[in-house]
Amino acid sequence: MNNQRLVILLLLVAYIFSPSLFNWIINPAGAWYRPYIVWVIVIAIAFVMQIRRKKYHEFD
C-alpha cells in the first residue's frame, strides 16, 4: 500500500492543473524567471518535508 494512491492522486492533480500552470509559466507577458519560481517552490517544499520528517523521527 506504500503510498501509491497518493502518487496516483498527485498525478491526477498534476494532469488537471498542468495546462493552466504551464500557460502561466510560459506566458510571454510574464517575467522570464517564472519557471525558476516554481522550481524554488518545489525545493522549498522538499526542504520543509525533510525537516518535518527529521522531527518525526526524533520523536519516534
Partner: protein
C-alpha cells in the same frame, strides 16, 4: 566529484552575476533590455508551443534516471544517495543554481555580440568584459565540468561493460591474484572507452552540435526506462520482455537517429510499401515516441506471454513494494559461515574467498561461527552483492549459484516470516491507511507475545526458530537475536534436545521434564499447538510454551520431606514409650542377677546386659527428647551464658577418655548471653562437639567462636576433620541419618540440635569445607536471639 560540482556552480553563478550586474546594470536593466529586444524572449517561447516540448521533457526526466553514469552512481555505487533525504532538495537546488544564470549569460552574449557559438558564451562574456580572472574561473569551471563528466561516465561505463559483458564471457585464471587481474582489466577498459569516445568524435568530425549528440544519446538511454520502472512497479516483467523491448526500441533509434548521424542517410525505403520514411535528427521527437512506445509494448506483451523463472520471481518479490507478495524462503545447504569460505575457494582462490567472506561477515556484524539459516541467507546475499560490485552481478550470481545454490525444491511453500518482518519494519513510515493500522495491530500482537510473562517460541516446519520472546530469553539465558532464524538443533543444550524431543513428539504437553541448568536440576513443563501456515493448508508451524515449575517442584519436595520428619518423630515417641518399659524391667533383672550370683561368668554377663540396656536406655532417652522437642515453652527461658554451656559440654566430653583426644578452644565471649534453656543448650554443644571430635584427627583442634550484634549471637563450632561431602549436607539433619558405623551413632544428634535451635527461634548453617585452602573441616554456625535484659544490664 563534489569539488568539481561546486567549482562549476561557482563559476557559472559568477559569470551570471557579471552578466546581470556588469552588462545590464542589475535586474531592472535586464528587464528594460528584454522590453527593448522582445525577439529574445519570443525565441524562448517558440519551441514550447510545438509538440516536441513534452517529448523533450520526457527525455530529460528519464535521463535523470537512466543515463549510465547516474544509474550506476545512484543504484550500484552510492547507497548514500538513496538513504539521505537531503538529496531531495539539495540536488534540485544545485540544478537551479546551474540553470538560473544561463539566460542572463545568453542575453549578455547577444548584447555584447560575442563572436562565438552560444555554447561558449560563458567564456565569451567574461572575455569581452575584460576580466581575465573571471575568464580563468569560467574556463576552469567548464574544464572541470567536462573532465568530471568524462571521468564519471568512463568509470561507470567501464564497470558496467566489464561486469556485464566481459567477465561473464571471460574465464579469469583462478587461484592467482584475482584483484590485480580485475584492476588491470578495468584500466584497459577505461582506456578503451576513452579511445572509443575519441573515435566517435573523430568519425563525426564535429559536424553535429553538442545538443544533437546529447539528444541522440539520451533517446537511447530512454529505452531502459520501461525496465527501470518495472523493477519497482511491475513484478511480472521478465528478462525476455526487457530484451525484446530493448531490441525493438534500439533498432528504431539506430535506424532513425544513429545511422543518419554516421552515414548522412536521409530516407529509409520501406521494403513492401513504396514509401520512404524521412529520418534524421530533425525527427527526433517522432523517433523517441515510436521507439519508446514500441519498446514498452513489446516488453509488456512478451513478459505476459512468457513465464518468469524462479530466480526472476524471487528477485521481483524482493524489489516489489507491493504488499501482496509472499517472499519465499529459499533454503541453503550450507550450515556455517566457514563452509562459505571452503566452497568459494574453488572459483575465487583461497585467499580471496576467505577475505570476501570476512568482509561480508564484518559488514553484517556476524561471526564466523554463525549457523543461523536466516543469517546465512543474508550472508550469501551480502557476498553476492560484494562480488557484484567487484566483478558484476552476472558473474557473482553465477558463482554463488554454482557454489552455494538455493535448494528451492521442497521449501517452496515456506514463507520467509523473518524477511516479511524486516521489510515491514523498514516500510513502516511509508505505510498508510489500512496497511498502517494492520501494521500497528501486528506490532501490538507481537509486543503482547514478546512481553508475555511466559516463555514462548515458535518454529517453522523446517525447525527454524521464528520467534523467541523475552521470557524465553530469560529462561534459556539466550537472547532472541542470537536464536531467531537459526535451526533448533543449533541452540545450546539442554534446550536443544528438550525442544527437539517435544516438537517431534505427538503429545501436546510434557509435564515436569527435568533438565540440568547451572549444575542444578530444573523442572520445565512444555505445551505446544500447531499453527496453520499462511499459504498452504495441512502443513504446520508450531508454537511452544515453556513453564518453569522448579519452585513448585521444590516446595512439594520440601513438604514431603517435612511430612516424613513429622511422622518419624511420632514413630520415635511411640517406640521410645513401648521399648522403655521392657528395658527397665531387663535392667532390674540384671541388677538382681548381679547380687544373686558370685559366678564370675554370670557377673560378666550381668555387666554386659546392664551396659547394653544402658545403651538402649540412652537411645530411648534421646528419642524421647527428640520427639518432645518443641514442647518447652518460651516463658521458661532465662539468660544463659553460651560460654558456660560450652565449658560444661567440654568438661563432660573430656571424661570420655577412650575417644579421640582433641583440643577444644573455647573463644566464646562472656557477653554472649541468649534467652534459652541451659540444659538443652548444653545438649546442643555436647552433640556438636562430640561430632567435631569424632571427625577430627588425633590432637586436632576444635574452635568455638562467637560473634554478636544487637539482636543475635552467632556461635560457630569448627573442626579440622575431613568435612562433609556436598551431597550429604542436605541430609545430615534428617533423623536416623548417620555416617558413623552401625552402633556408633543413632543419627538423631544433629536432628535434635536442629530442633532445639528451632525451638530457641534460632537457625543453623553448615559450611563445608570450612578451610577452603586445605579443603577440609566443617563449621556449624548457630545464630540465636540475644537475651535482651542482660544486654541492657551490660
Amino acid at each position: 566529484m563534489a569539488f568539481e560540482s561546486l567549482l562549476k556552480v561557482c563559476a557559472l553563478c559568477a559569470v551570471g552575476l557579471v552578466a546581470v550586474f556588469g552588462v545590464f546594470d542589475g535586474l531592472d536593466g535586464l528587464d528594460q533590455w528584454l522590453l527593448d529586444h522582445p525577439e529574445n524572449l519570443a525565441l524562448l517561447h517558440t519551441p514550447i508551443h510545438t509538440d516536441s516540448a513534452h517529448t523533450l521533457l520526457l527525455v530529460f526526466v528519464a535521463t535523470a534516471v537512466t543515463m549510465p553514469h547516474i544509474f550506476h552512481l545512484g543504484l550500484a555505487e552510492n547507497p548514500l544517495m538513496r538513504n539521505s533525504h537531503t538529496v531531495t532538495w539539495a540536488f534540485p537546488l544545485f540544478l537551479l543554481l546551474m540553470a538560473l544564470p544561463i539566460f542572463p549569460i545568453l542575453w549578455a552574449g547577444t548584447e555584447l555580440s560575442v563572436p562565438l557559438p552560444p555554447q561558449y558564451y560563458t567564456l565569451g562574456v567574461p572575455i569581452l568584459f575584460n576580466s581575465p580572472g573571471l575568464t580563468l574561473l569560467a574556463f576552469i569551471g567548464g574544464l572541470s565540468a567536462a573532465t568530471g563528466a568524462m571521468v564519471v561516465i568512463s568509470l561507470a561505463l567501464s564497470t558496467m561493460v566489464m561486469n556485464h559483458w566481459l567477465l561473464p564471457s571471460l574465464k579469469l585464471r583462478t587461484r592467482t591474484d584475482l584483484y590485480s587481474q580485475l584492476i588491470w582489466l578495468r584500466r584497459v577498459l577505461i582506456a578503451a572507452i576513452f579511445f572509443g569516445g575519441y573515435l566517435l568524435y573523430w568519425i563525426l568530425d564535429n559536424r553535429f552540435s553538442l545538443a544533437h549528440l546529447a539528444m541522440t544519446a539520451f533517446i537511447e538511454t530512454l529505452q531502459f526506462l520501461p525496465g527501470t520502472f518495472a523493477i519497482v512497479f511491475w513484478s511480472k516483467g521478465n528478462r525476455r520482455g526487457i530484451i525484446a523491448g530493448l531490441i525493438v526500441g534500439t533498432s528504431i533509434w539506430a535506424l532513425g537517429l544513429l545511422l543518419p548521424i554516421l552515414t548522412g542517410l536521409e530516407f529509409i525505403q520501406l521494403p513492401l510499401v513504396n514509401y520512404a520514411v524521412p529520418v534524421g535528427i530533425e525527427y527526433w521527437s517522432e523517433v523517441t515516441l515510436i521507439s519508446l512506445g514500441l519498446n514498452t509494448f513489446c516488453f509488456v506483451i512478451i513478459s505476459m506471454l512468457t513465464r518468469q523463472t524462479e530466480d526472476e520471481q524471487y528477485s521481483a518479490d524482493l524489489c516489489a513494494a507491493d504488499e501482496i507478495s509472499h517472499p519465499v524462503r529459499q533454503a541453503l545447504d550450507v550450515h556455517s559461515a566457514s563452509e562459505f569460505k571452503h566452497r568459494l575457494a574453488k572459483p575465487l582462490g583461497k585467499v580471496t574467498a576467505s577475505r570476501e567472506v570476512d568482509i561480508a561477515l564484518r559488514e553484517l556484524n556476524l561471526s564466523i561461527d554463525e549457523r543461523r539459516p536466516y543469517a546465512l541467507r543474508r550472508l550469501r546475499d551480502q557476498i553476492e552483492g560484494n562480488l557484484s560490485s567487484l566483478m558484476g552481478i552476472h558473474v557473482a550470481s553465477e558463482i554463488m549459484d554454482k557454489c552455494i545454490p538455493h535448494s528451492t525444491v521442497e521449501t517452496q511453500t515456506t514463507v520467509d516470516i523473518n524477511l516479511i518482518e524486516s521489510r515491514l519494519a523498514e516500510y513502516r513510515d511509508h505505510l498508510t491507511g489500512m496497511a498502517a493500522e494492520l501494521n500497528t495491530l501486528r506490532l501490538y500482537h507481537r509486543k503482547t507475545l514478546e512481553e508475555l510473562p511466559m516463555a514462548v517460541c515458535s518454529l517453522g516446519r523446517d525447525m527454524e526458530v521464528l520467534m523467541w520472546n523475552r521470557a524465553m530469553a530469560e529462561l534459556t539465558q539466550t537472547p532472541g537475536e542470537d536464536v531467531t532464524g537459526s535451526y533448533l538443533e543449533d541452540i545450546p543444550e539442554p534446550w536443544c534436545s528438550l525442544l527437539i524431543d517435544f516438537s517431534q513428539s505427538k503429545e501436546p504437553h510434557f509435564y515436569r521434564r527435568e533438565i540440568e541448568l547451572n549444575h542444578r536440576p530444573h523442572w520445565i513443563s512444555l505445551h505446544k499447538a500447531n499453527i496453520e501456515g499462511p499459504i498452504t493448508a495441512g502443513v504446520y508451524d508450531q508454537v511452544m510454551l515453556l513453564e518453569d515449575v522448579t519452585e513448585t517442584q521444590l516446595l512439594e519436595q520440601e513438604l514431603v520431606h517435612s511430612e516424613r520428619l513429622a511422622s518419624v518423630g511420632r514413630l520415635a515417641a511411640g517406640v521410645a514409650h513401648e521399648i522403655g518399659n521392657p528395658i527397665t524391667g531387663i535392667a532390674c533383672l540384671a541388677q538382681n542377677l548381679r547380687y544373686d550370683s558370685d559366678n564370675p561368668e554370670v557377673l560378666e554377663t550381668a555387666e554386659q546386659i546392664l551396659s547394653q540396656t544402658d545403651r538402649v536406655g540412652r537411645i530411648v532417652q534421646s528419642l524421647v527428647s527428640f520427639s518432645h522437642a518443641g514442647h518447652a515453652s518460651k516463658t521458661e527461658f532465662e539468660a544463659v551464658s553460651i560460654r558456660d554451656c560450652a565449658n560444661e559440654a567440654i568438661h563432660l566430653l573430656s571424661l570420655q577418655k577412650e575417644k579421640t583426644q582433641v583440643l577444644f578452644c573455647n573463644d566464646i565471649l562472656r557477653t554472649a548471653i541468649v534467652a534459652g534453656d541451659a540444659q538443652r543448650i548444653i545438649q546442643v554443644f555436647i552433640n556438636l562437639l562430640s561430632n567435631a571430635r569424632d571427625a577430627s584427627p588425633e590432637q586436632g583442634r576444635v574452635m568455638l567462636e562467637s560473634n554478636e550484634d544487637e539482636n543475635s549471637v552467632t556461635v560457630s563450632v569448627t573442626d579440622e576433620g575431613h568435612g562433609i561431602p556436598p551431597e550429604l549436607i542436605e541430609r545430615i539433619l534428617e533423623p536416623f541419618f548417620t555416617t558413623k558405623e552401625p552402633g556408633e551413632g543413632t543419627g538423631l544428634g544433629l536432628a535434635m540440635v536442629y530442633s532445639i535451635i528451632e525451638d530457641h527461634s534460632g537457625h543453623m548453617d553448615i559450611i563445608s569445607p570450612a578451610d577452603t585452602v586445605h579443603n577440609r573441616g566443617a563449621s556449624f554456625v548457630i545464630t540465636l536471639p540475644r537475651h535482651l535484659d542482660s544486654f541492657m544490664d551490660a
